[in-house]
């Protein structure tokens, strides 16, 4: 479904991603792991045109999408729940969700999309008219994921969905991610919480210094010490 090769991202002279190859098959849940500053967010953002792509090929459903602008990509079925949530704080919960469906061509399926998101996150239904900025961290994360689901994505990119959340909420979010995979949504997620990620994903990639330093099934990664090394900076 997604095939990335030779991906490079540079902010001016700083090369944050130095030639990454990765792919995600239909229906898979794949993790992109690595320490802070490894280039994980830059990689995800590049896939949706939000970070400066220097080189590389991004194939989505057998089409090269590397040159397409962000606003078009969402219409192809690829979307991101960004790091730090980036919900629209001055807009209501309902307006945030409505924007999530902005690029959706099938307007008649909107009610269904709302119902689906509200079924996953009943709390959002309760807070529908509240300003998103007044939600708790966990609720904001649910809104960020719910907003991304409104488009009915084929490929969902999640950047640090558990960042800054209380342990109990983290568990809820991880359960939810497995549930989304079970519904057939293909997911590529970036996480700091390695142990919990490896419990739910099919495969993982490990990044360090802008490069992929290891890849394998969840079992393989759990068994080896590459992940640990990558976090300690010795990978």
């Amino acid at each position: 479904m997604l095939k990335v090769s030779g991906l490079k991202v540079a902010y001016g002279a700083v090369e944050a991603v130095r030639g990454v190859d990765l792919d995600v098959e239909q229906g898979e849940l794949v993790a992109l792991l690595g320490a802070n500053g490894a280039g994980k967010s830059s990689t995800l953002n590049a896939l949706v045109g939000l970070s400066p792509l220097k080189a590389g090929r991004i194939e989505f459903l057998s089409e090269d999408i590397a040159k397409l602008p962000t606003e078009v990509l969402v219409r192809r079925g690829i979307t991101l729940s960004p790091e730090g949530r980036r919900i629209f704080a001055s807009l209501s919960v309902a307006e945030n969700l409505r924007l999530g469906a902005y690029g959706r061509a099938e307007r008649d399926q909107l009610d269904e999309a709302y119902d689906q998101v509200f079924a996953l996150f009943p709390i959002l239904k309760e807070r529908e008219t509240q300003l998103a900025g007044t939600l708790s961290g966990g609720q904001q994360q649910m809104l960020a994921i719910g907003r991304a689901l409104m488009i009915g994505p084929k490929l969902l990119l999640l950047d640090e969905p558990s960042l800054g959340l209380a342990p109990q909420i983290v568990e809820t979010i991880f359960e939810l991610i497995s549930a989304l995979r079970d519904r057939g949504i293909t997911i590529l997620m970036v996480e700091q919480n390695v142990a919990m990620s490896l419990d739910i994903v099919d495969r993982g990639y490990v990044m360090a210094g802008g490069e992929i330093v290891a890849a394998g099934s969840a079992q393989e990664l759990k068994a080896s010490n590459v992940v640990e090394n990558a976090y300690l900076g010795t990978g």
Partner: protein, 298 residues
């Protein structure tokens, strides 16, 4: 005395409303692009000349007024397409200088193609009449200005809260890249913001000209300068702030004119600005600051 206060309050609301509409136009564009469009005044002037030519051609005011508003909105969209889109990703300073250049070019065109001096605009007689409310008279043009301002504010509120494009504009003002991630098209939302701001300039121009019955090449300069002050007073980029700032400035000006002792009247502008400065010292980010000031723009 009470009559005078009431009378002046109506004048203040009428003038403040016009400033509010202009400040809103500046704020809408600023909130999305991070640019103050100093050519906003020239959009007013374009409306003014549209009214003038329509009057000469015998077009009735009820038709020429909407045409004038449409002309300003169309000119704003064209301005964006021709002048501002190429510098969209440039620095704030570059965009500012571009808007000065657009304003200067348009002023020169008006002076050379239309007239250097002020020209009369035909305004229906009914607008210069007054209605008596008990003891005092209210000009119909003042009532029209107030009613139009209220209608525009209601329309804008509906547009920004209830329509997809309006919600997209508010989202883009808060976090442009993420709005694009939602599928909001940058070109469309920016063109929409200019159309809206042009429309507001057009409405303000119709109100302005119907109080004065004349138009000149620099007509837009003073009101838009005031609107700029109002937008800063309210909190740059904040739409509610722009409205508050506009009305506040209207009240300051009218009350100073009405109630300052005669020998101080010639100082009313500096005194007014002094009051604005004091208010800004008290609230440096304006009366109602924008929530996400300094957020990432296009």
């Amino acid at each position: 005395m009470l009559d005078l206060i009431l009378q002046q309050t109506i004048n203040a609301v009428a003038l403040g409303g016009t400033y509010a509409l202009l400040a809103l136009g500046l704020a809408i564009v600023f909130s999305i692009m991070g640019m103050i469009n100093f050519a906003h005044g020239e959009l007013m002037t374009i409306s003014g000349y549209t009214l003038m030519y329509c009057g000469l051609a015998g077009v009735p005011f009820v038709i020429s007024a909407p045409l004038a508003i449409l002309a300003a909105a169309g000119a704003a969209v064209m301005m964006e397409r021709v002048a501002f889109r190429p510098v969209r990703n440039a620095s704030a300073a570059t965009m500012l200088v571009t808007s000065f250049a657009v304003a200067a070019i348009l002023q020169i065109l008006f002076q050379n193609l239309i007239a250097k001096r002020s020209k009369p605009v035909m305004i229906p007689d009914v607008l210069s009449e007054s209605i008596a409310f008990g003891d005092f008279l209210i000009g119909i043009n003042k009532l029209l200005a107030i009613a139009t301002t209220i209608a525009m504010l209601l329309f804008l509120n509906w547009f920004l809260k209830r329509t997809d494009v309006g919600i997209a504009m508010r989202a883009a003002a808060e976090d442009f890249p993420i709005a694009q991630l939602m599928g909001v098209q940058a070109n469309a939302v920016i063109a929409g913001a200019f159309a809206l701001s042009g429309m507001l300039a057009g409405v303000a121009a119709v109100l302005w000209v119907s109080q004065r019955a004349s138009v000149d090449p620099l007509m837009g300069f003073v009101p838009v300068l005031k609107a700029f002050i109002a937008a800063i007073l309210g909190g740059l980029g904040s739409l509610t702030g722009a409205v508050a700032g506009g009305f506040m400035l209207g009240f300051i000006e009218i009350y100073l004119t009405a109630f300052l002792p005669e020998h101080l009247l010639e100082f009313k502008e500096p005194i007014g600005l002094g009051i604005v400065v004091l208010m800004l010292l008290w609230r440096p980010n304006g009366l109602i600051p924008a929530a996400a000031i300094g957020s990432q723009k296009v």
